[in-house]
Each structure stands twice: as C-alpha cells, then as structure tokens.
C-alpha cells in the first residue's frame, strides 16, 4: 500500500512538474509574441524625422569602419554639407549626424555613440550650438536629437543631459508615449518604411538637399575679435567633445557654416569657441569669413535665412572638400574595388537625380522641357501618349522627334515608352494593360485609364496635347507629369 501511495505521489509530482514546464513555455511564448508585435508596432509608429530617428537609423546601417569624415552638429550640417559631392568630387566617404538646433551635449553623445561603430579619420564639428541660449531645449528638439539612438548608456546619458527631471527621462526614454497617437497620420511609408525610398538605409548619408530659393541680404558684422561667452553648459560639453576626440586620437575640425542670420552676437560666441579651440590646438574655421572665396550669391544660394540651398551647398561643399583634402590625412576612396564604398555613389546619384527631378518640375518652356528630358540619363523612363486623340501640330512633333518617336501621329491612341534612345510602342493586353513595372517595392502601370503609380493615377488627360510621365527608376518615384502642346507645359499637380 505504502509503495502504491509513493508511486502515485511520484506520478502526481511528475505531472505537476510537467504542467509547470508547459505553463512556463506558454508564458514565455506569450511574452515573445508580445515582444515581436511590439517591435512591429514601434517600427510603424516611430516618427520618420529626417533629423531624428531616421538619420541615426541610416547611420547604424553603414558598413562598419567605412566613414572617413563624420560631420556632427545642427541643421546646418545636414543641409549644407553635401555628402554626395564630397564623395564624387573628392573621394571622401562622409556621414552627417545633424539635428535641428543640436546642442553640444547631444553632439557629444552622438560622437561617443558613432565611435562605437566607426573609426573616422576625422570629425567635423559644426559650432552653431555656441550661439543658442538655452540649457534645455524644447520638446521637439530633444526628440530630434535623441530619438534615433539605440537604447544604451549613451542615449540615457544624452537624455539625462537634455532634461531636468525623472519624468522627462522616462518620457524621452519611452518615446512611444510621445508618438503613440500618430495612428491618424500613418501611411504606407510608416508601415513599410523601406518602400519608396532607395536612400533610406545605407545609401543615405544624412545629407538633405534643400530645394528652393530664398533671396537674402548679405549679413553685416561690425564686430571682429570681441568675445561673447557661450552658455556655460554648451562650453562644458564643447570642451568635452574636444577632449574626447583627442583621447580617441581622432583629428577634429570645428567649423561654422555660412549663415544668413550671422550677426555680431553670434560672431562673439564663435570667437569664444575659436579661443577655446586654439587653446586645445584644434582648427576652427568660421566660413562666414569666406563668402567671396566660396562664391556665395545671396540672391540665389540660400533656401531660407539660415541654410544654403542646392546651389549654395554645392559651392560650400566644394570649398570645404578642398580644405579637408589639403589639410587632413584623408584618402581618396573612389578607386576602391571592395564594394565598401558603393553606397556613397548611390547617395550621389540619388542627390543629383532628386535635383534633376526638381528642376524638371520648375521648367515651363516647351523647348527647355524637351531638352531636359533629352538630357536625362538611362535611369529615367518617359511614358508618352496623345491626350484625347487631338491633332498634334508639326512643331511639337518635331520636338518630340528628338527621341525618335516621329511615329506619333494625329489621332494616335498608342502609348510610347522611352528609355535612353530606345522607344517602344506599347501594346494593350486583354485586360487593358499597356505596361507594368516594379520599381523596388513600387508598382508602375500604364492602362487605358492613364498612368498609375502604386495604384494612384499620376497623369491627367483633360488637357489637349501630349501627355508625358517621367519616371525616375533609381529614386523610385514619378519625377514629373505634364501635358504639353505647341505653346506651353501644363503641369498636373500630383502627390508624386
């Protein structure tokens, strides 16, 4: 009897143990599922600020130890320093970690974080932070400057330096409290962030070309060598950055970008920064002293009062690139065959094509427009058809003949696809589909109804003339959609 009881007790024990194991497995599975879904949720909801999480996300995607020049600082860095041009013209693989109104305490932790993944040959610190007068930035500024960092000690320290209280540390550490209510503004690009942006990951080097022009007057500065101390907190972290770079044995250059809002006070602050830099034996260059050498035209080269546009940043980057190659031990990486630097070329192509697309949309003259179409490279496709079967006048036909599409004729209902020098007449299948193509994750289709990009109609056929849809295959976007007749370009305002 005793033996039987013991056996039963043992059996119960084993069963209970098995149940416990089963329960444990179930609980762990549940937690793993929640963690998995939470990860997806965060990807969907996290804001995709260029100068916030997105820039750091692309930084983390860079090949390890591939960056030679790391540029850190305020919005002047990611708008003024053209990484594509530094590569294409100087062979410098560079990356910009900039953030709107980035203070030095954020720059400091960005540098610390960056050096965990890269060992640049030099660091360029942009010194606009000297000229700000706050010890704690506003909500949006803090988000821009900490949200992209991975959760680690650097991020927590950066948050701690950015806010005063425990609640603030919690808020910015658990940023979902900030962005959870984005549910009403989510788009396909949030759900699948890789869609539609070929430069999202390693091809993005942080630079953002400012397209647009804002004429300004040349800043006048009477003060010369007078020093106005920068705020104490900025000074503390400014020195920390210098000391940290020196500890790491990485040459540091401190620069001030051309700024339309430059004035006596900012000059005084920069003089203070220069004095400190010189004490440490670090080069400090205020490019506001070199407007003429750079060739800045204040009528055409600024996008807003403080930042250079696509014309200005190319002039400035050229000047900066020459200085960097002359003064620092940088290697021209353009001949590299390992593939480590391929993404910098991709970045260059993206930047240039984005500009071309912009310039195309700014053109109103028929002849200019057709000339621009002709100058586009093989990455472009041009879809063309006659709108409303109206008669096309001879002049226009002659212009269009530039692309060997003289086949186009009055009452022509065909669709043509031009890529490079090759013109194809598209034929309609049984479903009314003339053509379709996948550009990365995007879908382009030509049907009886018109031209569709990701299901959205991008052309408009109520004008009389030749409808032209220009597709940038490299940047995976519709560059422009117009209808032209003998006299002018009619532009359909598409969201693409």
């Amino acid at each position: 009897m005793k033996l039987l009881a013991k056996k039963k007790e043992l059996q119960n024990g084993i069963l209970s143990g098995l149940k416990s194991v089963k329960d444990l497995v179930r609980a762990v599975s549940f937690l793993l599922l929640v963690a998995f879904l939470l990860n997806i949720w965060v990807i969907w909801f996290i804001p995709k600020h260029h100068d916030g999480n997105r820039m750091m996300e692309t930084f983390y995607a860079q090949p390890q130890n591939s960056i030679d020049v790391l540029v850190v600082g305020s919005s002047h860095t990611f708008i003024d320093v053209n990484t594509g041009m530094l590569w294409e013209d100087f062979g410098i693989p560079s990356f910009v970690i900039g953030g709107s109104l980035q203070p030095f305490w954020n720059s400091y932790y960005f540098i610390r974080e960056a050096l965990n993944y890269q060992h640049p040959r030099m660091i360029v610190l942009e010194a606009f932070a000297c000229d700000v007068d706050f010890d704690y930035g506003d909500h949006g500024m803090i988000i821009n400057n900490v949200s992209g960092m991975r959760m680690n000690r650097n991020k927590l320290e950066a948050i701690r330096a950015s806010v005063t209280d425990v609640d603030g540390i919690i808020d910015f550490s658990l940023l979902f409290r900030e962005y959870h209510n984005r549910y009403s503004e989510l788009t396909i690009n949030d759900v699948a962030p890789e869609l539609g942006d070929p430069v999202r990951f390693e091809n993005n080097k942080g630079f953002y070309d400012y397209l647009g022009t804002y004429p300004i007057t040349r800043p006048v500065c009477d003060m010369d060598d007078e020093i106005v101390p920068m705020p104490n907190k900025e000074e503390y972290y400014y020195k920390l950055i210098i000391e940290y770079c020196q500890e790491q044995g990485i040459p540091l250059m401190i620069m001030v970008s051309p700024d339309g809002a430059y004035n006596d006070l900012s000059r005084g602050h920069y003089n203070h920064a220069r004095e400190i830099a010189e004490e440490y034996g670090v080069e400090f260059v205020d490019y506001n002293e070199y407007y003429d050498e750079i060739g800045i035209n204040f009528e055409t080269d600024f996008g807003d009062i403080g930042h250079l546009n696509y014309l200005g940043n190319r002039k400035f980057t050229n000047f900066l690139g020459e200085h960097l190659t002359d003064e620092y031990d940088l290697i021209d990486r353009r001949g590299d065959t390992t593939g480590l630097y391929d993404s910098w070329h991709e970045n260059y192509v993206y930047i240039e094509e984005r500009l071309d697309n912009y310039l195309l949309t700014q053109t109103e003259e028929v002849a200019d427009y057709l000339n621009m179409l002709n100058s586009l490279n093989d990455n472009y496709e041009i879809i063309l058809y006659v709108s409303e079967n109206r008669y096309i006048i001879d002049d226009l036909r002659r212009y269009l003949g530039l692309h060997s599409i003289s086949a186009i004729r009055p009452f022509d209902s065909n669709r043509y696809l031009i890529c490079g020098n090759v013109t194809n007449i598209l034929t309609q299948d049984d479903n009314g589909l003339y053509y379709e193509e996948f550009l990365g994750d995007h879908h382009l289709s030509v049907t009886n109804e018109g031209v569709f990009f990701d299901g959205t109609k991008v052309d408009e056929s109520y004008y009389t003339g030749v409808c032209i849809v220009t597709v940038d295959r490299h940047n995976q976007t519709v560059a422009d959609t117009v209808v032209i007749d003998e006299s002018m370009v009619y532009r359909y305002e598409s969201e693409h």
Binding site: A27, W41, L174, E178, H180
Partner: protein, 503 residues
C-alpha cells in the same frame, strides 16, 4: 502614483518580481513594505509624505482597539466596555475623515446662520490637504472594528497583518473596501501562492489591461466630450446635453470600474482575491438592482454597517423607507462634502422608496394589461428607464452647483435640436470623427463585456480563464495594443486622475 502611469507599471513590475523571488514566508512583509511605499513615498526630499501619518494613526487605532475589544468577553458586566472602545475607535477614525473631508462644508453651512445672528463668519481660507484614499481606508478599518465588536471573527493580534489589511496598495486609494474575514486570511496564506499559475496570471493580466482600456481608451477620451459640453452647456441643446450626460455615465463607470478592475488584477497576480466592485450596473432593471451592481463593496458596507443597524427591512414600512433614504443620504455624503452629492444620494433613496411603494400597483397594472414581463421588450424598457434615471442623477453628481445642474436638466428636455444627429454636429462636441469612431468601437467592446459578465455572473478575468488559450492571447494582445495606441496618455496629455480618488 496613478494606476495608469509608467511609474506604477515599473513599481508593480518590481513588486511582482521580488514577490515571487523572495522566500515565500517573507512575501507578506514585502507587500506591506510595497504598500507603505506606494502610499507614503512623496519625493526623494520628503520620502514620507505628511498625509501618511493619518494612515499610521488609523492602523494603530484599529489594531489596538480591535485587540482590546476582542479581549473583553462579549457577555457579562464588561460588555459595555466593548461598546465604549468601539465608540472610541469609530470616533477616532471617523473624526479624521470628518475633519479632513467635511470641516469646510460644515463651516460654510453654519456661516450664514452666524452672520444672520450678527456674528462674524468663520474663515474658510485654509487648505486641508485630505489624505488620499481616506474615505476608503477609514471604511475598511471601521468595518473591521465593527465586525470584531460583533464577534463575527477574532481580532488579528499581529499588527503587521492589520497594517497590510488597511494599506494593501491595490485597494487603498479607491477600494474595493475590503473586509477583515475576507482579506486577512488570504494575507496569511501568501506563502502558499504558486509561483507559476498561468490561469491566475493571465486572468490578472487581463484584468489590468481591461482596466487600462476602460480608463485610457474610453473614460479619458469620452471626458473630452463631457468637459466640453458641460463647460459650455449654454451653447448646446437637448440632444447634445442628453448625449453628454450619457457620456458622463459611461465616463464615471469606466473610470471607477477601471480602477477597481486594475486593483483586482494586481491583487490576483499576487494570489489575492479582492471584491469585484462592479457587475454590469447599467444593465440593471431597477435602481435597487443598480446598487447591487455598482460599487458593490461600498453598497454592502452601507448595508451591513448603516442600513442593518438602523433596522433594515425588518421593521415598519415607513421606518424601512426611512432607513433606505438615510443609507443613501450617507452614501451621497460619503462621496463628497457638497449638497449636490446629498441630493444625488437622496434621489436614489427616494426612487427606491417610490419603487417599493408602487410595486403592488405596478404588479396589478401588469396583471390587468397581461404585460409580458419576461419579454425582452419589457426588460429593455425597464432597463432604459433605470438608466435614464441614473443618468439624470449623475448630472447632480457631476455638477456641483445645484441650480446649474437643474438648468442643465431643464435644457436636456426644453431645447430640442434633433437635427444635430444628421448634420455631423455630434463630431464637434470634443471628438472629431476618427476619435469618435474609436470611442464608438471601444464602447461596443465594453457593452459586450458587460453582457458577458451579467450573463455568466463572473468577473471578466474568470470569464477569460474559461476561454481557449488562443482566444485569451488574442483578446489580451488586442486590448494591450489598443491601450498602447489609442490610450489617452503621453507628455502632451495632462494625465487624468481617477475620479474616485477625490472621494
């Protein structure tokens, strides 16, 4: 520390992990420590907030008084001493409550008399910082004292158990109001609680998430309509005001139910069952039933310690009605020091009296008209009438100014504007169409839960345990992400405290 705050989430996670890591015998002391920290901690500069001393006083008075009462025989010459001791305990406990909660109210009440008699009004220009949860822990303590006095159970000798019973952190701020014979035995068995019990844990987790959903997705969202419409009542007509009053009914239910449900869930995850405070109250078919389903722990407390001692229903009809009225006036007064709360309580008392008095007449009418009293339509009509009354009574609860509440009720019926139902005016009351849709779906979920709860007569946690694991997972995860996404929280939001924390 609000239940819907990150601080509480971190606090509870630490409490729970340490609870299961510690040797079982130490668990009870850990929970006591956690409870005292939860209630007393204010800031690093002032670790123990001033208000905490009143909790300590209540614990001390309760423990000593109960132990001494228990030492004195219930029969014999010394019996009177028990009564004196009980009175001392009640005076001390209720004294604190009255002092903090009602001093200003009484002064304001007597000031006009003093002035009328040529005296100088007593200044009310002082700020008595009421200890949080005082109404709840005082009712818990006094219930315990009365039970010991009535020899319902023996006094607990160990002061630490009494301290934990009074200050148990899930319940101390807003209830449920626990009883000694329900909670203390469970506290003594905490060492036997199994570490891995998936059913208990998932039930507790579900309750917490369901509570957060009710609070953060429904209550705090619907509050935007309520605050806007009541704040600008003069801009709105009948439809909007009726709609706002329905919204407030939902708000206060979700707000208070959520707190109790989170408390239930937290306690359950530590192996403790506390009273379920709500059981689908808006599905009640009479006001009497409503009070059996609304704030159950308070209703039962008032029944046991106010209504029964007054004579309950075992007395003349008039006396019985008076007892009901007094009980509801006490209930109203407990909710707040204001005439509006007394009116609100009085309304419920009077309606129950009317209900009782007219019961034979209604029965007769039903017999004559052959009313199908078991039909859905009949029950629906009764439920609707009950809800309509409760809804109007809530106006007096929400609006502290009696005349203003009257004006709002008048406008609810005298300013017809049915067209706002068809001209999208409903989306301009504080929530746009998107937010309104979210609210609508969330309230549908609430209705489904309440119907299930009423049907099964179980807590939603227990209903969930009975479901297949995949269904449980799906529901818990869906609610969790609904809270995470659609919850009203974050830096841009001023976190709304739980309404019942004010009581």
């Amino acid at each position: 520390m609000l239940f819907n705050s990150i601080q509480f989430a971190l606090f509870f996670a630490v409490v729970l992990i340490v609870f299961y890591v510690l040797p079982p015998r130490v668990r009870v002391w850990w929970i006591l420590l956690a409870s005292l920290f939860f209630y007393c901690y204010k800031s690093p500069d002032e670790p123990v907030g001033e208000q905490s001393y009143y909790l300590f006083a209540a614990i001390l008075v309760t423990w000593i008084t109960a132990v001494v009462i228990d030492l004195i025989p219930a029969q014999g010459k010394l019996k009177i001493l028990r009564g004196i001791l009980l009175a001392e305990g009640l005076i001390a406990d209720f004294g604190m409550l009255i002092y903090f909660k009602y001093t200003k109210f009484f002064i304001e009440l007597i000031n006009p008399r003093i002035v009328d008699n040529g005296g100088q009004a007593i200044s009310t220009d002082f700020n008595l910082l009421m200890p949080l949860g005082i109404s709840f822990f005082i009712f818990t303590s006094t219930g315990y004292l009365i039970d010991v006095y009535r020899c319902k159970y023996h006094a607990e000798k160990n002061p630490l158990y009494v301290a934990l019973f009074t200050s148990f952190f899930p319940c101390i701020m807003s209830g449920p109001i626990e009883r000694g014979d329900h909670l203390i035995p469970q506290l003594k068995k905490l060492h036997k609680v199994k570490v891995i019990d998936v059913n208990r844990m998932s039930s507790g987790l579900f309750l917490i998430i369901w509570g957060l959903f009710a609070k953060m997705v429904i209550a705090d969202r619907i509050a935007m309509i309520v605050d806007n419409v009541y704040g600008h009542y003069y801009n709105y007509g009948s439809v909007e005001l009726i709609f706002a009053s329905i919204c407030y009914s939902i708000q206060i239910y979700c707000d208070f139910m959520s707190y109790s449900t989170i408390a239930l869930g937290c306690a359950k995850m530590m192996g403790i069952e506390v009273f379920d405070n709500f059981n689908a109250p808006y599905l009640s078919l009479s006001v009497k039933e409503f009070w059996r389903r609304w704030h159950i722990s308070l209703s039962s407390w008032l029944r046991d310690y106010v209504y029964f001692p007054l004579g309950g229903s075992r007395c003349s009809k008039i006396r019985k009605h008076l007892n009901v009225l007094i009980t509801f006036l006490v209930s109203g007064f407990w909710h707040g020091a204001g005439i509006n709360f007394i009116i609100w309580g009085g309304m419920h008392g009077v309606v129950q009296m009317i209900d009782d008095v007219t019961s034979p007449l209604r029965k007769k009418i039903n017999d004559i008209t052959h009313a199908k009293t078991d039909s859905f339509g009949y029950k629906f009509g009764k439920g609707l009438l009950t809800f309509a009354f409760v809804d109007i009574a809530w106006v007096y609860f929400r609006i502290t100014d009696f005349h203003l509440a009257n004006e709002i009720v008048r406008r609810m019926f005298m300013r017809p504007d049915l067209w706002v139902l068809f001209n999208d005016g409903i989306y301009e009351l504080g929530l746009d169409r998107k937010e309104f849709n979210i609210l609508f779906i969330a309230v549908l979920v609430l209705i489904v839960m309440d119907i299930a709860k009423k049907d099964k007569d179980k807590s939603v946690g227990d209903i969930m345990i009975a479901q297949p694991w995949w269904f449980r997972w799906a529901v818990i995860i869906s609610l969790f992400f609904a809270v995470l996404t659609f919850g009203i929280y974050g830096p841009a939001f001023d976190p709304a405290g739980f309404i019942y924390l004010n009581f």
